[in-house]
């Protein structure tokens, strides 16, 4: 026999589903309410010339896909972009209909502490350049359909990078977003961590830098913690097992890929998406934490933007999109 409580729950859940989004200026609802939120993380490989050339058509195609999806009403509500170094990649932020754009720190918004790992301690006193030398910005962008009501960032200190990665101002970027119907703002964090082989740095130095970045992210999350639900997504370069383990353990957030695959029947995987590309055979990840009174659940995930343009992939990464359900408690 179905209890009265269950019947009530079903009824309320259905009612809330129908009523969600009716008014984005509405205040926090009195009843539990399910909100669907599509979040895409995508490293667009937007390195500037001369490192990469001829990328303009690729950026244009990425923008086109997002526009097509918007026309169909299936666009990701929030897009987290990494490696938007190239000015030509602005087309993705400016023509895809996202009303709010948060740009990560530029080249000059640098932190100023710590020696780079290659600094010789015994060279001339003035020649050790302990201040960071950034030649590119963070390459981070957050595009949002919903108002960004607050934004914070932290550029990694200069002893928190290794090799070529030290040339860009790698950072953590937070957007506090007012999602209509959600009882409190949602914190979205985008970041791009130190690469492994591509950094061309000694393995130990690269691992140390990555671990320090992880510690900084933990510090950043604690510093910005207000009880809001948090989604942390980006290119974390955690394909290496020890990097992933340390990251996961330190941050303490749920891995959306793992949670989704564990939630059989409640979370689906997009067609053509390989399971390993949601889990460990990827540097792109989504992590999340519930808010004080908001529950977060991944409901669907897929790796997208896998098409070829003139025989070349749009980026050296795939998009990583997760459909979350946010539930006011």
């Amino acid at each position: 026999m179905v209890s009265m409580m269950k019947i009530t729950a079903i009824a309320l859940a259905l009612m809330s589903a129908v009523s969600v989004g009716a008014d984005d200026s509405a205040s926090a609802p009195d009843t539990p309410e399910m909100i669907e939120l599509r979040v895409l993380s995508y490293n667009i490989n937007g390195l500037p010339a001369p490192l990469k050339k001829g990328k303009k058509p690729h950026y244009a195609r990425i923008a086109e896909v997002l526009k097509e999806r918007r026309a169909n009403g299936t666009q990701p509500h929030i897009v987290l972009i990494q490696e938007a170094f190239d000015g030509k990649s602005d087309i993705v932020a400016e023509t895809t209909g996202y009303k709010y754009v948060l740009k990560g720190p530029g080249r000059k918004d640098e932190s100023k502490r710590g020696d780079a790992h290659w600094v010789q301690k015994t060279r001339k006193a003035y020649a050790s350049f302990s201040d960071p030398q950034k030649f590119m910005g963070s390459g981070l962008l957050i595009l949002s359909d919903y108002p960004i009501i607050d934004a914070r960032h932290k550029a990694f200190n200069s002893d928190e990078c290794a090799g070529f990665d030290c040339m860009s101002n790698k950072s953590i970027l937070l957007a506090r977003i007012e999602v209509p119907g959600l009882g409190r703002p949602l914190d979205i964090v985008n970041s791009h961590f130190n690469s492994r082989r591509a950094a061309k740095a000694p393995k130990k130095a690269a691992f140390k830098a990555h671990s320090r970045q992880t510690n900084t992210l933990k510090w950043f999350l604690e510093k910005t913690h207000t009880g809001n639900p948090v989604i942390v997504a980006g290119d974390f370069n955690t394909k290496e097992e020890r990097r992933y383990s340390y990251f996961k353990e330190t941050i303490g957030f749920k891995d959306a890929g793992v949670e989704c695959l564990d939630a059989v029947g409640r979370c689906s995987v997009g067609e053509g998406t390989r399971i390993e590309e949601l889990l460990f055979k990827t540097n792109d990840k989504h992590f999340y934490a519930d808010g004080d009174d908001v529950l977060v659940q991944p409901r669907r995930m897929e790796r997208n933007f896998d098409e070829m343009l003139n025989g070349k992939p749009l980026s050296d990464h795939l998009g990583y999109e997760v459909v979350y359900s946010l539930l006011n408690e």
Partner: protein, 277 residues
């Protein structure tokens, strides 16, 4: 988690979610996006006001500039820096007045070893002593990733040579692993007329075995150096460097350098255990 919440989540995910995405998004928004500014969160990590190093080791160097004889001695390697602005480094003292991403510059002073007959015995007997000089000047250094360049210009204020001296070098740091670095360095040194005459000229040949010689200003030394560091721990490292210099220009033509006691080839090396603080 409350039982109610679990029920809502479960039913919501299973049944209600497909219709729950109808949020009020302005799909027709076609204007330029609104760019939001983010605010930096600063960490409280403090940087020590003082930093530096103290090394103890051995060095081998020519007895004087242009000497063919080399002597092995014990040597100290010391540097102390206050707030990355004022530094004392072996025989130099300076202040970094300009600090930017690609350039550091400031003022510098140094004490330069002289040439005294009691040091070089009777080899250069009859030539006048050259006392230790104190020189002041300016420096500039730049760095691009692992490539570094620096230049120092000095002017004598002690009345020893009354000239000017400029050193410039370029190097690149190779990391063989996270503990071991090697930096090949190329450098050149320039001296003014007065400087060159003091160290390479012969003013008064009386009482010496040298012909009078007027040394002209110009580049007089080209060098190649290899500097190595091996990190032992956070605060300890061993360093080694070896420099081969070739004296050129009027220095190479100096009767002092061309004598049996002189040489255009100059070798110096240093090895030390260094404590970083």
């Amino acid at each position: 988690m409350k039982i109610w919440t679990i029920i809502f989540v479960s039913f919501g995910l299973l049944g209600a979610a497909p219709s729950s995405s109808a949020q009020d998004v302005n799909l027709k928004y076609s204007g330029k996006p609104i760019y939001i500014q983010s605010e930096e969160i600063e960490d409280e990590r403090k940087k020590d006001n003082w930093s530096g190093r103290l090394g103890i080791g051995l060095q081998i160097a020519p007895d004087f500039l242009g000497s063919s004889d080399h002597t092995l001695t014990g040597a100290l390697d010391f540097k102390a820096s206050y707030k990355d602005i004022i530094f004392i480094e072996n025989n130099k003292i300076g202040s970094i007045l300009y600090k930017k991403r690609l350039l550091r510059a400031g003022i510098i002073g140094r004490a330069s070893l002289g040439r005294r007959n009691d040091l070089v015995l009777a080899d250069l007997q009859g030539l006048r002593d050259v006392d230790e000089a104190f020189e002041v000047g300016i420096f500039a250094g730049t760095s691009l990733y692992k490539l570094f360049l620096s230049a120092e210009a000095y002017f004598d204020v002690s009345g020893v040579h009354n000239g000017a001296n400029v050193e410039a070098e370029i190097g690149y740091t190779y990391e063989f692993n996270s503990k071991f670095t090697v930096s090949p360095i190329l450098g050149a040194v320039w001296g003014s007329d007065d400087y060159m005459q003091t160290y390479f000229g012969v003013d008064d040949a009386a009482g010496t075995s040298f012909e009078p010689y007027k040394a002209g200003g110009g580049f007089y030394e080209m060098y190649a150096e290899v500097a190595m560091e091996h990190r032992l721990s956070k605060n300890w490292l061993v360093k080694g460097s070896m420099r081969f210099s070739d004296l050129v220009g009027s220095a190479a033509k100096s009767p002092i350098v061309r004598s049996d006691d002189g040489s255009t080839d100059q070798l110096s090396a240093f090895f030390a255990v260094v404590w970083l603080f």
